[in-house]
């Protein structure tokens, strides 16, 4: 599925000493530095250019877009395309649908996963090893290969064309990863911290609330980031399971058929894409900081 986007969970152990290496070295190799700088600029351009082009197209008046030549920046600016996109049939409904399945699946997955992760990280029980293996295997599950059986199963239970079906599927898609990540964060929080707090006179509950939870919170956030992006992005299941009821489509499915909606109006198509991307970018900007901050703060061992 759309698992391309995984938060910097592997950066968990990277916390200690993160800032200590690179910046401090001073090398005087001039040509080398220049080449490096050039490479950095090329990398930035290559990454950002498609996104820039989207925004640029979304802001340029149709008249200029249709003029034979292509210029690096817009010749004039307009918000018309955004107006067209916002006024498109059902745009707000699809937006709401996407938000519903996304937030819903993130919340459910967090709760279910936190319970399981706690059992795995802090408790010893028979079957724990098997459970972890199942979760590992589930994380690798090629969901795309299950489109058709899923379609048939969902149809058999009469759940086609319902948003809640997507919500459930997205929850389970993100669940294994969420369990493993939260368990990883729990593992990284030394039990000694809680014990030390308890030696200092805290109750166990207070120790958990004051010590464990603050350290765990960034982990929960970064995990929810993953869930958010997976669900917000998901196309294959939404495209297969919401067929009859066009009103319950989600944004990706709607956007993928932009030809039906906007025809050759690339300005509006790009404006719609921009609007679709915006929430993810916002979530990223907000959460990324907190996550990195949390990781640094979590580096109690160092």
């Amino acid at each position: 599925m759309t698992t391309d986007t995984v938060p910097t969970f592997v950066a968990g152990p990277a916390g200690p000493g993160a800032a200590t290496t690179a910046g401090r070295r001073r090398r005087r190799l001039r040509p080398g530095r220049v080449a490096l700088g050039a490479a950095a600029v090329v990398t930035i351009l290559a990454s950002v250019f498609p996104v820039y082009w989207m925004v640029r197209t979304a802001l340029e008046p149709t008249r200029d877009l249709q003029a034979g030549s292509v210029t690096p920046w817009p010749r004039a600016l307009t918000l018309d395309h955004f107006r067209t996109a916002l006024a498109a049939d059902g745009f707000w409904a699809f937006w709401r649908n996407s938000l519903f399945v996304t937030l819903g699946s993130v919340l459910v997955a967090l709760v279910v996963a936190a319970l399981a992760a706690f059992a795995v990280a802090r408790l010893r029980w028979r079957g724990r090893g098997v459970f972890v293996l199942v979760v590992f295997a589930a994380q690798m599950a090629p969901w795309e290969a299950l489109l058709i059986p899923m379609y048939i199963v969902v149809r058999d239970v009469g759940m086609l064309d319902r948003l809640v079906t997507l919500l459930v599927i997205y929850t389970v898609v993100t669940l294994p990863f969420t369990i493993l990540t939260i368990r990883g964060f729990l593992d990284a929080i030394p039990v000694e911290l809680e014990e030390a707090a308890r030696v200092d006179g805290c109750s166990r509950a207070t120790a958990f609330r004051r010590i464990v939870f603050p350290l765990l919170a960034p982990g929960l956030l970064s995990t929810s980031l993953f869930g958010f992006i997976t669900a917000w992005n998901e196309f294959a299941f939404a495209n297969t399971l919401l067929i009859k009821n066009q009103d319950s489509r989600t944004l990706p499915v709607w956007l993928s058929s932009f030809n039906n909606v906007f025809g050759t109006d690339w300005g509006a198509t790009m404006a719609a894409s921009t609007l679709f991307m915006l929430p993810v970018l916002l979530v990223f900007v907000v959460l990324q900081n907190r996550v990195t901050g949390g990781l640094t703060a979590g580096a109690v061992k160092g």
Binding site: D4, A22, S47, A116, R122, E144, I148, S203
Partner: protein
């Protein structure tokens, strides 16, 4: 494995033990090590994992089983609508494995995965090393750029790609023509197999590099500085430094990322479906797309089930190495 004995430091009832002093069943008084306990009698772990187990079992496990069953059935449009599929043994598999089209798709999928993963890993490693060597400002710039790409939803990226590669007003053709390559004037990328394939490779690489590069960079920062210094004193530099110091230390991380990328590229569906639907002339039909086509256009759900099973088996074989490593690590815990 922890076995049946709970180490003192792990308290099975932490979240529930809101007021442990009044809850003697939890055993441990403040400051005293918990006594050794048999956990067999403790239902809490099972209660805690139950929702996850049920969810995974119903939503993942059941469709997997259903898929396997279906792959042994003659399951077509009539069966979908009226029900009553009959078992046909290995017919679907026999048909599949003797079909040239299928093997063409397999080879294409492997090639697509190999090309993408190699490009992703090489570029990500270079970018990670570069970030590590950059000064503060440029490092921030590069990382911000990568995060923007990472945050671009797949379907937004596919629409952007279709616009960039438009035959008439697309910026790619305009740029290539400006560079003197006149044959790209009005060139239709979606009409030529290799061009469409290359376009999708570019799309996937563009989307995948940020995760790999940022993760590798995070790994790089954990390599102790002293190791580099020592190696440098021994006269190592550049590529040798990477090969003899960085890579060995980060080998597990490289393994993990490569495996993840193999999975993601191998099963990539949304990008291909949204841009080419497997065309032109099947030039971009990979296994997941093929399974989808067989089911949704030919309505041969049984055959499609067989394709899915074969896909999963192939992917498992590809990743066996990584799985074994994970199992071993899990065993060590």
């Amino acid at each position: 494995m922890g076995g049946a004995v709970s180490p003192a430091s792990h308290d099975p009832l932490l979240p529930e033990g809101r007021s442990p002093r009044t809850a003697p069943t939890t055993g441990a008084g403040a400051g005293t090590p918990a006594p050794v306990r048999r956990t067999r009698a403790n239902p809490w772990p099972y209660v805690l994992v139950a929702p996850a187990v049920v969810a995974i079992g119903l939503v993942l496990g059941y469709p997997v089983v259903r898929n396997v069953v279906m792959s042994f059935q003659d399951y077509g449009l009539r069966e979908l609508i009226r029900g009553g599929a009959s078992f046909v043994g290995l017919d679907n598999y026999a048909e599949l494995l003797t079909d040239g089209t299928f093997w063409g798709v397999v080879v294409r999928t492997l090639a697509f995965t190999a090309i993408d993963v190699v490009l992703i890993m090489v570029l990500s490693t270079l970018v990670a090393l570069m970030i590590n060597a950059l000064g503060r400002v440029l490092r921030f710039g590069v990382m911000a750029g990568l995060v923007v790409v990472w945050a671009t939803p797949i379907i937004a990226a596919t629409t952007i790609w279709q616009w960039l590669f438009q035959s008439e007003r697309g910026v790619v053709n305009a740029t290539l023509v400006a560079l003197g390559l006149d044959r790209f004037d009005g060139y239709s990328w979606l009409a030529h197999g290799p061009a469409a394939f290359a376009m999708l490779v570019l799309l996937i690489v563009w989307q995948s590099v940020p995760f790999a590069a940022l993760t590798l960079y995070a790994g790089l920062t954990t390599v102790p500085h002293e190791l580099f210094e020592a190696a440098r004193i021994d006269g190592a530099s550049g590529f040798r430094l990477f090969r003899s110091v960085t890579f060995p230390i980060l080998r597990p991380l490289f393994g993990l990322i490569t495996s993840l990328e193999v999975i993601w590229v191998f099963k990539a569906f949304a990008q291909i479906w949204a841009v080419t639907q497997g065309g032109p002339d099947d030039a971009t039909t990979t296994l997941p797309v093929y399974a989808y086509q067989v089911a949704q256009s030919l309505h041969r759900y049984g055959l499609s089930g067989a394709i899915s099973v074969v896909t999963v088996v192939m992917l498992t074989l590809l990743l066996l190495v990584y799985f074994r490593q994970t199992l071993r690590q899990e065993g060590d815990r």
